[in-house]
Homo-oligomer: 159 residues x 6
């Protein structure tokens, strides 16, 4: 792609989106928490020391999506119109949790970062709640899966 936003001195800046169209845009992102089957069993049973991990991580992810522009320095503040965070326990493999977030806006730029931030903070929260029983758990494969809207239109990851 042409990199129209590069400044002469290479310095960081929040790029100008004022000429872009206000359109409906969506993004879906995923991440995987890799722990052990004994732990995902506790997760489902609500038997973890700090309590109900999935509900807590879902709320954390939704709230984080709304604060993306506070965390990621060059992101624009966007009026999010929908955020969901979901978990598939023992997916894609036993002992793993697949985290999926979907975000929607009607705005001048896309919400990939908001979807990624939601899965990221949901993953951090799950780790926080299982680390007493599995400090070695890993958050992995954090990526954008699908987006719609904007100048470049629909995009789906092909692996």
């Amino acid at each position: 792609p042409t990199l129209t936003h590069v400044r002469e001195d290479g310095s960081a800046h929040m790029v100008d989106i004022s000429e872009k169209d206000v359109t409906a845009r969506t993004a879906r992102a995923q991440a995987v928490l890799r722990t052990r089957e004994a732990v995902t069993a506790q997760l489902v049973q609500g038997a973890l020391p700090k309590g109900d991990a999935l509900a807590t991580a879902r709320i954390a992810g939704i709230m984080a999506a709304k604060r993306t522009h506070e965390l990621v320095p060059l992101c624009h503040p966007l009026p999010l119109s929908k955020v969901t965070v979901d978990f598939d326990v023992d997916q894609p493999e036993p002992g793993e949790v697949l985290i999926t977030a979907e975000v929607r806006t009607t705005s001048r730029t896309g919400v990939e970062m908001e979807a990624l931030t939601a899965v990221s903070v949901a993953g951090l929260t799950l780790y926080d709640m299982i680390k007493a029983v599995d400090r070695a758990a890993v958050i992995t494969d954090q990526q954008v899966i699908h987006k719609t809207g904007g100048q470049h239109g629909e995009w789906t990851r092909h692996d």
Copy 2:
């Protein structure tokens, strides 16, 4: 481990740390951004559209560490005494960036979550700055590497 914090109804709560000792504690976490060699070359040259990615991601990671307790619902607010975020470009493989954070506190609980949050937000920021040239980049292997201090003392990941 004994799960002394489980509540009878399994509900989420910020566990009581008031009886734990105030001691020096450190944590180190890592993550890997997986992109392409053409992109890591642009990263090093400062030729990315939004500007200087490494400096921006470093600051984002440091600032995020300080806000961990705002993002992760059951984390305690802690007086961080040191935060560093570093990048090894084309490590562990060409076309990848190894992100490492170190956090230190003198407090009643550990800073693993702060170190993980720093690498997480640094990774999100790098992705934000390269997504115009590689939307398919992945953040992976986000994990705690080492910790010291506290009741359980030193711990090092063995893979």
Copy 3:
């Protein structure tokens, strides 16, 4: 009302408002701080230990309205176009303070939560400033009084 937003698994989510119309919307909320007449007298005279309670609580309420979506997990971020917070001392009864907030937006959803958050934080701030002289004070009757705009149009509380 039909509950079109229920998800199959009952999990929490920020509901999709992208199909709703952008219209002018207002909300008014109230709460009552119940203390003693000796305290409302000090409030009016500016004789409380931490200083000017009404001005401080007004600013706190206005600022909190802008942060509603950070506090209430499933609220959408909205571009507020007006916020006022007012106090009627010794109303509705002597020794009480009636707190009223009005919020206006032009957006896809209403601002009842923003008006309620403003009165709530204004009330907390008043309590903070009188608690040295009346720890037993109570914040009560926090409620939405009136709203306009949106699909359901005008609504006024009838008690």
Copy 4:
């Protein structure tokens, strides 16, 4: 009590607590959400349009406690060592929800405001989740119930 903190000009200020002792302190606060029995039934069944209201409100309350000093202008930032938020549905009366928060710190001042902020934001969140079915619900009787620690020691509300 003697009001040692009043400034000559009556202006607001964050009072000096540097000479106060660092001690263990706790506070418990309560509030009541007054709605209808049909609504508390939906609350328990998880049948509300935005999803799982109790888990969401609990997390919101815990997170808000940590941000008390950002919301209430003259509150000191405190290192909270424990926060819990609990709900008793159909208490104290059918169709009501009793919200209770407990906060603990080891610090130079008390955590009454943190406990009150937790119940306040938990109550706002419950209202947000039921307002599609009961816009007229009221949050009431928000008050400190009990505190320990500090110069004035233990205090229990007597009604």
Copy 5:
């Protein structure tokens, strides 16, 4: 100008902008950090104790612009579409740093406060990074330089 927003009781409020037009608006602000030539030399060489001061201050300024409405009580939250922060070292005089911010929005009110907040926090950050070598440095001449858009149109400072 006519002061149409004054309330009868003179109390603070976030004024109603709902009747104003949504138009493109820009603002440029400046400030000067006054230190010594030995320090600006270290700044350019990246030899300051806390590290790369210009990149850090640039990011701090951009991030602060997005939080203007959280800091300045009566500012409206605005969807910023562009933020830049730039530095001219040894300008306007040797041993000084000229800080310039530009902000753009498409909204109902102007972004002068956002531009001023960006230069202000960029200046604070530069001071933080040089204060180990020049505690006596001063931030001065913080002012709006130029604005466009809105009811009053273009404005340029004339000194």
Copy 6:
């Protein structure tokens, strides 16, 4: 001074203060808002369009001091034990406002940045409230005046 904190690669980092002593520390900072006498008259009379400027700016400054570490990337979070913000209208010259902040902590590092941030945001807030009548107003001479505590002890600015 010896610059013990410089990293080999010159990158930004939050320096380690864990070995520094926990001691009482204070800082005082000042800034001047330069406007016209007609405006300072309105300020004192409470006749400005957005309302009571001094009370609003005082609260804004106090609240900003508590958020210094969120704004200035390499500042450590500190438990502030006192914050005051004061105004001298028509000082040091007619048509000016002298803004003074005092901050106190018991901690491992000083509070110069907190005091500067308080005067900075108080100044921004005053400007916001007078800009309808004097857009050309300037904030100037923002500087640390005095500090106590810490390794380097007392320091007073000499001009």
